[in-house]
């Protein structure tokens, strides 16, 4: 129910800030998404989308944090850093 799926913004339209809308690519499937709650989101950004609304912009640097944590614990020494 609280599922939110990450997708990449490919275009943005709309003048009313609350009804700002974007075309978002979810692994090849493109959907119209309300961007009213993510005024900071730009074309090329990834947003997490829940029932047609972007609820956050994915922070690219923070997305690495899981792997850094593993590395610091010495559990990622033999693994290549994943390319994201």
């Amino acid at each position: 129910m609280c599922l939110a799926v990450p997708g990449k913004i490919i275009s943005i339209s709309g003048d009313d800030p609350l009804l700002r809308s974007g075309r978002v690519n979810f692994g090849g499937i493109i959907k119209e998404v309300n961007l009213g709650y993510t005024p900071e989101a730009n074309v090329g950004d990834y947003v997490l989308v829940h029932v047609g609304f972007a609820i956050s912009t994915v922070d690219e640097a923070e997305a690495e944090q899981v792997f850094e944590y593993l590395r610091e614990m010495g559990e990622l020494t033999e693994l290549e850093a994943p390319s994201i």
Partner: protein
């Protein structure tokens, strides 16, 4: 898919599992709050990667599961009216009411439609001005911004044939209800990452301090959940009870401020009854007075319904983490996803449905083994 696949790597998962084993010296019981996390844990077998001393119990974070029976009955009464187009997320349609479910209403000629977003229901209202269009607004804080926007836009654009049947619940009061229960066994929480994406996590500080439990805001992919468990166990082992954030790529301390602003404009905090749990004070959202005319309960005169739960269903205990699904005598026999006795068997995020789907036969074997111990 980017930001999904990379968090599902087996070697990394094994790395976290080893690290958790290394720091665990005692038994710990940790609850994942959100049904989406429960689904991922059972689907990917994350609980089976953990040392035996770390037990994950499944929380109440399944909106479909906690929507009270009388509200399902209200939805059925409204959806059965000839002038109504009733719009809902798909998984509400099979939740059993006292006598039937919304699918039966649809099969008997009711205009019941599955929509992806409340904004789709608003479009249906615009396209059908001679009909009453009702949206079944269930959900936690994650879904509240979407429902708030639908009501705000209905008001703003004068779409008066639109209304919502509100069943909105809030996570922190439910966590407090679990912690203050005499039968509580939860020692730490994985808090729901998308709820916190919207609301931030400042409100969890007082709960962690008052009940001395670590709370780790956690994402939904296997590596997120494993890291959340690691952070939680580490706090437990070190005797700390703090709020930490694992899901930093989405969750900021203050949450999504524009979303919170519209939620506050449209909704107010009210007591809500949780299916299987009972009434929890200040645990839900209702429409503010200025938007009251969009309340479907008022519009269709269904405010005073009461209903009795199936006496055999233990979903209340499952939702509080006291019992596991396979400890129910009806599990998999008299209660299946096709013929559910209670809501935890209906939603794919309900613990019973997740166990049935991914653990079916093994669950019975496990139940037998548990009894022997």
């Amino acid at each position: 898919m980017k930001y999904v696949d990379e968090y599902r790597g087996e070697p990394e998962a094994q790395g976290f599992a080893r690290a958790i084993s290394r720091i665990t010296t005692r038994p710990w019981t940790i609850m994942e709050v959100c049904g989406g996390q429960t689904h991922a844990i059972v689907k990917f077998g994350i609980d089976e990667l953990l040392p035996k001393q770390v037990e994950l119990v499944h929380g109440p974070g399944c909106p479909v599961c906690v929507t009270p029976l009388e509200l399902i009955d209200k939805a059925i009464a409204i959806a059965s009216r000839p002038e109504v187009i009733f719009c809902s997320f798909g998984d509400m349609l099979r939740v059993p009411g006292s006598a039937k479910d919304l699918l039966v209403v649809k099969a008997s000629g009711g205009d019941v439609r599955i929509v992806y977003s409340p904004m789709d229901a608003l479009k249906v209202a615009q396209a059908n001005p001679s009909k009453q269009v009702v949206f079944f607004a269930v959900g936690f804080e994650t879904t509240a911004p979407a429902n708030a926007m639908a009501v705000f836009q209905a008001d703003n654009q004068g779409i008066d044939n639109f209304s919502i049947l509100v069943s909105h619940v809030l996570v922190p009061p439910a966590m407090e209800a679990i912690l203050s229960s005499a039968i509580n066994r939860v020692q730490g929480f994985l808090a729901a990452g998308h709820v916190c994406t919207v609301m931030g996590y400042e409100e969890y500080g007082p709960i962690a301090a008052k009940y001395q439990v670590p709370i780790v805001v956690t994402g939904f992919e296997p590596l997120d959940i494993l890291q959340g468990v690691y952070m939680c166990v580490k706090q437990l082992e070190e005797g700390r009870a703090e709020v930490e954030n694992q899901y930093t790529r989405s969750v900021r301390r203050e949450g999504n401020l524009p979303a919170q602003e519209l939620i506050r404009d449209v909704f107010r905090i009210v007591p809500r009854k949780w299916r299987g749990v009972g009434e929890i004070p200040q645990s839900g959202l209702g429409l503010r007075e200025k938007y009251q005319r969009f309340d479907a309960e008022d519009r269709f005169g269904v405010t005073d319904y009461t209903a009795e739960e199936s006496p055999e269903c233990i979903s209340g205990l499952v939702l509080q983490g006291v019992k596991k699904p396979f400890e129910c005598s009806a599990f998999g026999t008299r209660c299946t996803p096709e013929q559910p006795l209670g809501a935890t068997m209906v939603s794919s995020e309900g613990a019973c449905a997740a166990y049935y789907r991914y653990r079916g036969v093994r669950a019975s074997a496990l139940a037998a083994a548990t009894k022997e111990i």
